[in-house]
C-alpha cells in the first residue's frame, strides 16, 4: 500500500518537475526569440524587413488559413448571423480597400479627398467590428454593448487623423497574434500562461529601449523604390519628425513577433496532429464535411505561397505592393476568429 502511494507521489512529483522544465524552456525560447528579433530589427532594419517578408509572409498566411479552417464549424447554427456578418464584412471591406488604388490608377478618381476616403473605410471597419462584438456577446448571453461607445470614440479619433489612425492599425495588427496565443495557452497550456504574460511585459520595455536608442538617429537611406516603400509603410510620411530607422525597426520587430506566433507558437500549441493531415480539420473529418474542398483549398494555398516567393524573387517591390493590398483580407479575417475565442 505504501509503495503504491509512493508511486503515485513520485509520478506527481516527476510531472511537476517536467512541467517546470517545459515552462522554463518555453519562457527561454520566448525571451531568446524576442531579443533576437529586436537585435536584428535594430541593427539591420531594411534587410531584416526584406528577408522576413520574403520568407514568412506567404507561409504565415497559409498557417492562418489552416487555423481558420480548423475553427470553422460544420454547421453555423446559432452562429449563423455572426459568420454571415463576418464574411460579408471581410468581402466588402477588402473590395473597398482594393478599389481605391485601382480607381486611382485607372484614372477614374484623382485621389482628391484621400483622407476622407481612408476615414470612411476605417469607420466602416470599426462599425463592422462593433457589430461582430455585439453579435458575439449575444451568442454568449453577455452584455457587450459597451463596445459601441468605444467604437464611436475610436471613429471620432479616426476622423481627426485618418492616415494616422490607419498607421496605428498597421502597428496594432501584429499584436493581435499575441492575443490569439494568450487564448490558446489558456486552453491548451494553462501552466505556460503566467510565464507568457510575464514575457509580454518585455515588449513595452524593448520598444522603449528602441525609442531611446534610435530617436535621434539618422534616418535610413530610402533613395531606392524598395527602401522608400518600407519606410513609407512604417509611417515616414506621416511622422517626419521621427527617424525612419526607429519606425522601421519597431514595425519589423512587431511583424516578426506576429510571424513567430503564427508559424511556430500556435502550430506547436494549438495543432491537433500534423499540419499536413487534412483529416485533423473538423470540417474535413466529419461525415458530412468537405474533405476534398478543404484539401484543395490548402493545396491551392501552397501554390499561392510558391507564387508569392516567385513574385518576390522576380520583382520584390511590385510583389510587396500587391501582397500588402490583398493581405488586408487576412487582417480582417483575424477579427471574427479572435472573437470566437473570447
Amino acid at each position: 500500500m505504501e509503495r503504491t502511494a509512493n508511486l503515485g507521489l513520485v509520478q506527481w512529483q516527476r510531472s511537476r518537475v517536467q512541467t517546470r522544465r517545459s515552462v522554463g524552456s518555453f519562457a527561454l525560447l520566448l525571451v531568446v526569440g524576442v531579443l533576437l528579433s529586436a537585435t536584428l530589427a535594430t541593427s539591420i532594419p531594411l534587410q531584416f524587413s526584406i528577408v522576413t517578408l520574403f520568407l514568412f509572409a506567404g507561409p504565415h498566411n497559409w498557417f492562418e488559413l489552416r487555423y481558420f479552417l480548423m475553427r470553422l464549424p460544420l454547421r453555423f447554427g446559432r452562429s449563423r448571423n455572426f459568420f454571415l456578418t463576418a464574411f460579408t464584412g471581410i468581402a466588402l471591406l477588402t473590395i473597398a480597400y482594393l478599389s481605391l488604388p485601382l480607381l486611382y490608377y485607372a484614372g477614374v478618381w484623382t485621389g482628391h479627398n484621400w483622407p476622407t476616403a481612408i476615414a470612411t473605410w476605417n469607420t466602416l471597419l470599426l462599425l463592422w467590428l462593433g457589430l461582430l462584438i455585439s453579435l458575439r456577446g449575444k451568442q454568449g448571453r453577455r452584455n457587450w454593448t459597451w463596445c459601441w461607445p468605444v467604437v464611436f470614440a475610436l471613429s471620432s479619433l479616426n476622423w481627426l487623423g485618418p492616415e494616422l489612425f490607419s498607421l496605428a492599425l498597421v502597428y496594432a495588427h501584429p499584436l493581435v497574434a499575441l492575443w490569439f496565443l494568450d487564448r490558446h495557452l489558456r486552453r491548451n497550456r494553462p501552466e505556460w500562461l503566467q510565464s507568457y504574460r510575464r514575457c509580454l511585459l518585455m515588449l513595452p520595455l524593448i520598444v522603449a529601449a528602441m525609442c531611446w536608442r534610435l530617436l535621434g538617429s539618422q534616418s535610413l537611406a530610402d533613395d531606392n523604390g524598395l527602401a522608400w516603400r518600407i519606410t513609407q509603410h512604417a509611417g515616414a510620411d506621416l511622422l517626419p519628425q521621427l527617424s525612419t530607422h526607429l519606425l522601421v525597426t519597431v514595425h519589423v520587430f512587431l511583424e516578426t513577433l506576429h510571424y513567430g506566433v503564427w508559424l511556430l507558437a500556435l502550430p506547436l500549441i494549438a495543432s491537433r496532429g500534423s499540419i499536413w493531415k487534412v483529416k485533423s480539420i473538423p470540417l474535413a473529418r466529419h461525415a458530412r464535411g468537405f474533405p476534398r474542398l478543404i484539401g484543395a483549398t490548402l493545396i491551392g494555398g501552397l501554390f499561392v505561397v510558391a507564387l508569392l516567393w516567385l513574385g518576390f524573387s522576380t520583382n520584390y517591390a511590385v510583389t510587396r505592393d500587391v501582397y500588402f493590398a490583398v493581405a488586408i483580407a487576412h487582417v480582417l479575417a483575424e477579427a471574427p476568429f479572435l472573437l470566437r475565442m473570447l
Binding site: W146, V151, L160
Partner: protein
C-alpha cells in the same frame, strides 16, 4: 418604459440627422463695406528673424512645410459649392464631433444602466479612450498659449535683433489683395528703450 427607450433613442437619432437638413438654409445677402474675411487653410509656425545685413525680405520654407502648404492650397477652390466649402478639414471635424457626441451619450447611458462591476470596467475603458481623445484634441488644436501671448515680445525682439516664434494661419484672400503678414499686436510689450 420599455417602449419609451426605443422612441427616445429614435428621437435622438432624428434630432442628430435633422442637423443635416438645416444646412440648406439660404444665407441672407450680406453687404460688405469691409474687405471680405480670409478663409484659413492651414495653421503652422512662423519665426520672424531680423536680418541687419539683408536687403530684401525673404520667406524660407522647409521642403516638408512646402509640401504641407501645397496640399492645403491644392484643396482650395475659387468657386466652391456649399458642400465643397465644408469638405475640407471642416468635414472631418463635423463628423468627429458627431461621433464624439454618440460615444459619450451611449457610454453614459450604458454606465448608468449597468451593474457596478461592469460599470467599473467600462469606466476604465472609456477613461482610456477619453485620455487618448484628449491628447488628440490637444494635438489637433495646436494647444499652447494663444498667439497674442507668443507674439507679444516681437517689438523688443526686433529691436534686439532676436527671433520670435509663434503660430501662423495662412489665409486665402480675394484677388488683388497681395501678400501681407499680420501679427497680433494687442499685447505688444514696448521695447525697453522707448519711453511713455
Amino acid at each position: 418604459m420599455k417602449k419609451f427607450i426605443p422612441v427616445a433613442l429614435g428621437a435622438l437619432v432624428v434630432l442628430s440627422s435633422a442637423l443635416y437638413t438645416l444646412a440648406d438654409i439660404p444665407r441672407p445677402p450680406k453687404p460688405s463695406p469691409t474687405p471680405a474675411a480670409g478663409k484659413p487653410v492651414l495653421h503652422t509656425e512662423l519665426t520672424i528673424v531680423p536680418d541687419p545685413k539683408g536687403s530684401e525680405a525673404r520667406l524660407q520654407i522647409a521642403p516638408s512645410d512646402l509640401k504641407i502648404l501645397r496640399e492645403a492650397l491644392a484643396s482650395v477652390d475659387s468657386n466652391p459649392t456649399t458642400w465643397e466649402r465644408l469638405s475640407q478639414s471642416s468635414t472631418r471635424t463635423i463628423i468627429a464631433g458627431a461621433f464624439l457626441f454618440l460615444s459619450i451619450s451611449l457610454a453614459g447611458v450604458w454606465l448608468a444602466r449597468s451593474d457596478r462591476r461592469r460599470s467599473r470596467i467600462a469606466a476604465a475603458v472609456v477613461f482610456g479612450v477619453a485620455l487618448v481623445g484628449a491628447a488628440s484634441m490637444i494635438a489637433n488644436a495646436n494647444a499652447g498659449p494663444p498667439g497674442t501671448y507668443l507674439w507679444r515680445g516681437l517689438p523688443q525682439a526686433l529691436t534686439e535683433g532676436k527671433s520670435t516664434n509663434g503660430g501662423l494661419d495662412i489665409e486665402i484672400m480675394p484677388e488683388g489683395y497681395g501678400m501681407k503678414l499680420i501679427v497680433p499686436s494687442r499685447d505688444f510689450k514696448k521695447p525697453d528703450h522707448q519711453e511713455e
